[in-house]
């Protein structure tokens, strides 16, 4: 069964379409890169699937349901710069937020939740920073803390928005190996990715978008010079030109 099914999805900001008519069927257990130039709608697509933005038209089903019914099965790692790093919480408390979906609305973390958090901290090798305030971490440690939080959600689909921006080589390696581990457990991982040199060999499939879907398929089949050119083509697409008239 397909874990995510997107039909004809269109989302606009201020009446200008950011993505248009995208249809996709995502199979279980793969690592998928979303690539495209700046402003191509990569993050918009991700947020659309997560139900964070209103649709103009189209439909998204996750495990055959509306996203609101499967919230416990998905987790999202947003871009790092949007946070207030002076917020008075430490790494342990940050990762514990990942458990909130599993703790009753009125209720406190139970022993199992605490154990999961500690396991996730260890998995990302940040257990020694557990009591540090989140400002006092390196960029790589901050990113790993957010991944630990997503991991603590124990979900089936992971959405990551540019997780490799501003991280060190060690963190990059540990994120990739973690992604493979999750995949071997049958989870699905969708990643907005920037660096075209790290697509082949890292991702099973690639979604190439530039407002519309350019291509989707196995990395070896679609990550070709022609299609990359088409995605990143310097010329304005006709769509963008008409948009300026709207």
């Amino acid at each position: 069964m397909n874990v995510i099914s997107i039909k004809n999805l269109t989302i606009s900001y201020h009446r200008k379409p950011a993505i248009r008519g995208i249809s996709l069927e995502i199979e279980k257990g793969s690592i998928i890169a979303i690539i495209g130039p700046n402003g191509a709608g990569k993050s918009t697509l991700l947020k659309g699937i997560l139900g964070l933005l209103p649709f103009d038209s189209g439909e998204v089903k996750i495990f055959g349901e509306d996203v609101d019914k499967v919230r416990k099965k998905i987790s999202y790692i947003p871009q790092r710069e949007q946070f207030d790093w002076d917020f008075p919480i430490n790494v342990y408390e940050l990762v514990m937020m990942g458990r909130y979906a599993h703790i009753p609305f009125i209720g406190f973390p139970r022993r199992k939740d605490k154990q999961v958090v500690i396991n996730c901290l260890e998995k990302l090798e940040i257990e020694r920073c557990a009591t540090r305030q989140i400002r006092n971490l390196s960029g790589g440690q901050q990113q790993r803390a957010f991944i630990a939080r997503a991991l603590a959600q124990e979900s089936d689909i992971y959405f990551m928005d540019e997780p490799f921006v501003g991280v060190d080589a060690k963190t990059e390696k540990s994120i990739f190996s973690l992604m493979n581990e999750l995949k071997s457990e049958g989870k699905t991982i969708m990643v907005v990715h920037h660096d075209l040199s790290k697509i082949k060999g890292y991702y099973d499939k690639v979604i190439m978008i530039n407002q519309t879907l350019i291509a989707y398929g196995n990395t070896n089949d679609v990550f070709t010079p022609e299609l990359i050119n088409k995605t990143y083509g310097g010329r304005l697409t006709i769509l963008q030109k008409t948009e300026e008239l709207i």
Binding site: M97, Y100, I103, Q153
Partner: protein, 424 residues
Amino acid sequence: MTEFIKYFLLEPLQYEFIQRALLASVAVGISCGLIGVYIMLRRMSLIGDALAHAVLPGIVIGFMVAGKSELVMFTGAVVSGIITSVLIGFLSRNSIIKEDTSIGIIFTGAFALGILLISQLKGVHLDLSSYLFGDILGVSTGDLILSFTITLVIIICVILFYKQLLITSFDPTLAITIGIPVSVIHYGLMTLLSMSIVAGLQSVGVVLLVAMLITPAATAYLLTHSLKKILPLSVLIAVVASISGLFLSYHFNFSSGASIVLTAVMFFTVAFIFSPKEGLLIKYLRKKKTARTAISEDVIKLIMRYKGLQLDEQVSKLSSETGLHLRNLKSILNSLESKGFLYSDNNSYSLTNQGLAEARRLVRTHRLWETYASKEKFLSDDELHSDAEKIEHLLPDELVDELDRELGYPEKDPHGSEIPRTES
């Protein structure tokens, strides 16, 4: 001292209105201290100020309907606070007007409506100035019961909804993706805010209320980096400020609101200067310490260069090259001697083995940095030395080892001088 306590603290306590005011201070401290932390973290101090003003029409309407009944006036205030926060949100969502502007429009409008209604009250008297500036010495038993009920509700909500308040304050996106109703939490918090405002009106009044919300919270925020500690600390600061303000107000006949707020501001100022984490003083001392370390390290290198010279010659060279006054130089030399980096005999300073190792470490860092900078070409040749002079005091050892490895363990720096190796 006992005389002071007797006169300043105990004497007033025999009066019932002071006892009531004291209890009211505690209630206000707890409710505003708790809610204020969330208002600060969510960057909503402007909304706090706005709602403090906007509860006025609700209170007056309550008064018109039911006379001086605390409960009806309270209900009116909370309803009016909620309507205002909904309107603010509605206006900024449905127009190009930004939130701060819509706050400015709505709350002044609501406040003006309140004043207009008061001016229409006939025959009965509602004391506007006690609402504007607070009058903690005039708290009635009914007010007190109301304040403690509010405080209790706020404590219970902050404990029960700790998770939701935390996650929607820090990361509303995550909150949405795991299905937490962000706007319900927002309006719930606005309701609690309106309630804490009602509790605070008696003591500090509309105009100064926002200070009761954010000044204790901000003070606590400067002192600790943990939300679980900020909440009780903010409460403690708010309660102590309220009580001190109350006594000052009684003894010196100050306006109660003003003396409470000024006490809180004084606490904030003390925290701002003396906070052990981020205070001005600690930052200054840290900077001084770094500077002193750098100079001490320079002195070690210079003594290696001028070993064997007579003491007064060494001292005059050191003083001219570091630009230090003799007295400061002497203190640095003494401290280096007591730390075992150097010793003096035969009327001259020499480095101990520990001092030599330190000097070698500095030279190695300096020359490796020059090699690196010239290889990577991010500094011009004339900048090399002066930059390395600064960086040698800052680079931690692990980083220097990494640099060495990356450069392939070079033997000479760009000037042809040998790069010393640590014995291994």
